[in-house]
């Protein structure tokens, strides 16, 4: 059974050299600055704990710099927590920057192979997904042309088709991804809903309240690196102060 368990996760990271601590530190957004042992650092996450089981759809909300993306990156494994631990059972896939690693000079087909390898797919998996990806992207013969001949919309279609061609057990998303023109957007939305339906666990960071309402059954609100609120989604959206929440309407 898939699960994610974050236990007392804290993350501190060093500040760039030459950074003046006195000039900052009391802003409304971002982590907290501090100085211990002479090294200035940011506390991006502070004692974050929660557990997710199969079927859980967690929405992470909070103002800019509250730690939403940082939390996702810790869950994914890009950042190692300074203290605490993250235990994951199941394969974790992330949809962060779907254009990462595209090579302009290589053909669309070659880019599918390269992205697949980077995602950790075996050659067999890449072969078996190749046709689906090409078909979904609707690129036709362009798939054998170098990526530099693509329009921005075309390469986004390809990126989306590759990124969503798997069946994730645990899916981490920093904002909902959509792509392309009107016709493709509908297709992309359907594909995303399918993935969400199939995945064991979803963690979605977003400001879009109606999306969170539709997708999530649980909400964690981050505030300066701490969990400020944690509970069922309907309870979160129906709480008395919900009208003045930081989420964008619609």
């Amino acid at each position: 059974m898939v699960s994610i368990r974050a236990r007392n996760v804290s993350l501190e990271y060093p500040l760039p050299r030459g950074f003046r601590l006195s000039a900052a530190g009391r802003g409304a957004v971002g982590g907290r600055f501090s100085r211990s042992g002479g090294e200035p650092h940011v506390t991006a996450l502070d004692d974050v704990s929660f557990g997710l089981e199969a079927g859980d759809r967690l929405g992470i909300v909070g103002t800019n710099g509250a730690g939403k993306t940082t939390l996702l990156k810790v869950l994914y494994g890009i950042y190692e927590p300074t203290s605490g631990s993250v235990e994951k059972v199941g394969r974790v896939d992330a949809l962060f920057n779907i254009n990462l690693g595209f090579r302009r000079e290589a053909t669309g087909r070659r880019n599918i192979v390269l992205r697949g390898l980077i995602n950790g797919w075996s050659s067999n998996e890449i072969d078996s997904r190749m046709n689906d990806i090409i078909e979904f992207s609707e690129l036709g013969d362009f798939i054998d042309m170098p990526l530099k001949t693509y329009s921005a919309g075309m390469s986004t279609r390809l990126a989306f088709a590759i990124a969503t061609s798997f069946e994730p057990e645990i899916l981490l998303m920093d904002e909902w991804i959509g792509a392309g023109d009107k016709a493709f957007q509908n297709k992309a939305r359907t594909r995303m809903e399918e993935i969400v339906a199939k995945a064991g666990i979803i963690v979605l960071a977003s400001h879009n309240e109606s999306l969170l309402k539709r997708v999530c059954n649980r909400i964690v609100r981050m505030e300066k690196g701490r969990v400020a609120w944690d509970g069922p989604a309907d309870e979160y959206f129906n709480r008395p102060e919900a009208g003045e929440s930081d989420s964008l309407p619609g």
Partner: protein
């Protein structure tokens, strides 16, 4: 310390499991630099032959007891490998920032990708070097067998240097500029185009105290008939061992932390 080494080996082990990734990326890198050109992958080979050809033609070929053609052919081949490793490594993690911040691949993967790319380019140059050396009139001898371990040693040293330089380049951003500016100077103070002569004076000092000399000599001496240079071997083995330990410790300490400095 044991823990750091364990972390480092775990990182390297994970990278070797993903060898499809770095081998594919390295060959793309090489292909990219010559795509759409008429001569394509012949360029590294031509580049090498043109440069060594000119050097052999204009420099002093009358050094006593030295086959200058073979001397330059091997020296420049190894130098290209060393030079590309040093300059590319200093900016390695900075160039790969997008990947490091966006994927969970072990960072050794970028080191192996770069070593592979440099090795592929050197292999193309080697295609030019072999006939050049054979036609230079050298004699085949048993000491030449030591070329195989010498190549292996270079291939093991390159990732260690790459790790050290790549971390240095992130922590100290001026480092990559220092390295790229030093390379031209290094090319002249390293015995590639000049021969040590009778062993004295400034040339002798530059020859002996420059560790790069010895990395070149372990390949060059057996080719030009100087036998297996045992003292050079002792020096390079000590250097590589020291750098490898330092590289492993750095890798173990910062492999998952470097992302915060990018």
């Amino acid at each position: 310390m044991l823990q750091l080494l364990q972390r480092a080996f775990a990182d390297i082990g994970a990278a070797f499991k993903l060898k499809g990734v770095w081998m594919a990326l390295a060959s793309e890198d090489v292909a990219d630099s010559h795509r759409d050109t008429l001569l394509g992958r012949l360029w590294p080979l031509l580049n090498y032959l043109l440069f060594t050809g000119i050097i052999i033609f204009i420099f002093d070929r009358t050094a006593p007891g030295v086959n200058f053609t073979a001397y330059v052919a091997v020296g420049y081949l190894v130098w290209q490998f060393i030079s590309e490793t040093l300059t590319q490594s200093a900016s390695l993690f900075i160039r790969e920032a997008g990947f490091i911040q966006g994927t969970v691949m072990p960072i050794s993967i970028y080191v192996l990708r770069q070593t592979m790319r440099t090795a592929i380019r050197s292999a193309y140059a080697l295609i030019g070097a072999v006939p050049l050396i054979l036609f230079s009139g050298i004699e085949i001898n048993t000491a030449m067998l030591s070329i195989v371990p010498a190549i292996l040693l270079l291939l093991v040293t390159a990732p260690a240097v790459a790790i050290l330089f790549a971390f240095a380049g992130v922590f100290f951003r001026d480092f990559q500029h220092i390295v790229s500016n030093s390379m031209r100077l290094l090319m002249f103070i390293t015995p590639i185009f000049w021969v040590r002569g009778d062993g004295g004076g400034l040339r002798g000092l530059l020859y002996h105290w420059n560790p790069l000399t010895h990395y070149i000599e372990i390949l060059r001496q057996p080719v030009v008939g100087g036998g297996v240079p045992l003292s050079s071997w002792a020096i390079v083995l000590a250097c590589t061992a020291g750098m490898s330990v330092a590289a492993l410790l750095l890798l173990g300490k910062f492999n998952r932390r470097i992302v915060f400095w990018l």
